[in-house]
Amino acid sequence: MLRILLEKELRDIIYSTKFAITFAAAAVLVILSFYVGTRNYHESVREFEAARAADATNISSLNDWMQASHRVFRKPQALEVLVNGVTNDVGRTTDMRTSGELNLINSRFSADPLFAVFRFLDLNFVVIIVFSLFAILFGYDAINGEKEAGTLKLVFSNRVSRASFILSKLLGSVLALGVPLLIPLLIGCLMLLGSGIPMSGDEWVRLGFIMFAGLLCFGVFLTLSIMISAMVTRSSVSFLLSLVVWIFSVLIIPKGSVLLASQVATVPSMDVIESQKRKFSSDQMARRMKEMQQWFSTRAMSNDTGFAATFGAFQDSVMKAYEQERANFYGRLNEDWRNKKDWQEKWAFGLSRVAPTAIFQIAAMNLAATDVEMKYRYQQELNRYQDGYAKFIKSKTGSMADYMRVVIKRYSGTDSQEEKKKNLNPTEIPEFLEQPRALGSAISASLLDVGLLVVLNALFFAGAFFSFLKFDLR
């Protein structure tokens, strides 16, 4: 009996005009998201390569490492284009310094503010908006619609058990709607393969998990709307309820949870932190100037190399101490801010997990490594690179102090014509190699959310099942 009912359910959905239209729309949007993603990726890679080339040209036009100003650029990652996450908000360029805080500037949205308004079409958007609506459109009248059409009574005037009917309804809907959604997703994967985007094995696995999470998110809305349909007699009411759930899930809960979290866990703004840093820095500068005046007051100025070397050594020692002091202060400020931010984010994410769409988004961002931690992970990579870069610059200039290198140069007396002719070789600069987030780390970070989606599917599946056992068939 289950087979007959399941077959009917599959046919009833697939033969419908509603399915043809909504599936076509969903398929086009999925494929479009892959297409837009691949185009964006190639565009980003072009910009990245151009920026790197410009940086190399700039450096090679110089003949003194003391004047070199190296920039590091964030390399586009393949999965970023499918799940944008915070990618477009995070700066892509960093002015590399041998010490001090490194800032990320020139984010995609700051460069193209129009995209900040309308955002990019990515797979994440398609799943959250389109898949969920797609599911609701088919689930909201799954049971009460049959009652209104009189088919429920007709079916149950036969030897059909409620359990087999609702099972066929749930399984049939999932199969008839979920499996066809795999087709545009697979076409999208083929487009990725054909577009020349270098995808590692890890990235394919992560993409597989993202698609799995997307289908789970779809399943949650489908089973939820079928459950509502089995709890409410009229399909117009269940449609309204499903729509309200959708609006809360997609629009209100994620945004509301962020607002609520900001009330529960307050975090000082970046402006406050920056002004504290600036005040500390200017105090430090004042003290430093005083020390320099004292140093010069006890010594006679000279053009010889001995003086320059002594001054350089003094600068390095002062710089080291001040840098350390500043690093400690900034570190404390940053850590305090990070802790508060972490706490706020935990609240925001915790609260937003009431919404299945938010759960999917968190999971997908973790898998694509475009989550809110992306900026901090990238900054850690930059900080690691900064150490190597500082060593390299010291090996070339004898000093790590960026802004005092010119001063050292002025007093070094080694500014010969011969040296000026030798242009710098930018390939000597250690290459910045960003380590992609490890597969294990990405999967373990998303496990909770993927698990939640599985649990919600099971919960609403059971809810629909037991609601129907009590459903008034009359």
């Binding site: 009833d12 033969y15 419908s16 009574k153 007709l154």
Partner: protein, 261 residues
Amino acid sequence: MLRISYKSLIVINEGTVMDQPNVLEAQKLTKVYEDGLCALDHVSFSVKAGEIFCLLGDNGAGKTTTINLFLGFLNPTEGTPFINGIDVTKDPLAAKQHVAYLSDVVMLYPNFTARQNLDFFARIGGRHNLKRDDYYNVLRQVGLQEKAFEQRLKGFSKGMRQKVGLAIMIVKEAPAIILDEPTSGLDPKAANEFLAILHQLRAQGRAVLISTHDIFRAKEISDTVGIMSEGKLLAVKTRAELEHENLERLYLDYIQGKVAA
């Protein structure tokens, strides 16, 4: 005459119904809802093979509640409905194997063709081995135009859908047939065709229970009429008893309490 063979059924001549076994039987059926509303109050009657029993009453008289109890959609507060001797409350699935049902709302599956609808309901009704031609034959019997056999039900009129519903009912070959307001919303021609098919089903020995508020059709088609009001079966009259009676007057007298039940 129906062209499909019903080997399990016997052709019954009018007048021999009394000798037949009860196929549908209501024994003191009572339904009191949780809010205290008594929808059905100790209703007893039986429908024999080859008999058309018409439950006549206004909206809220208890006709549909009676049908819902026979189909197991409701559990009686008291009493027992039997289908072919099977207690519906004890084994509803087994009982349903012996009954075919048609309601007033026959939307069916609009994305399926007439034949696909018939195929689905035939299979869940236990008829697994029917071929396309078998379905076409039944659809012809109920008077559906050939060109509509493989058309989706989306564009069907109510009369056409009702014909498909009839075909679904026929193809199950159940000894008991229950119809809830089957002619409501049908034009006179379609209603007459429908009643003609019911006569044929009776001739094949089916026990037919119809609920209606259409007094004239009730008199025209029924072997027995049960007059219901406010959950009670006030009177049961046979065709012979009604032959010289004005059923409309009788019905009004009963429901207005002018005649003792």
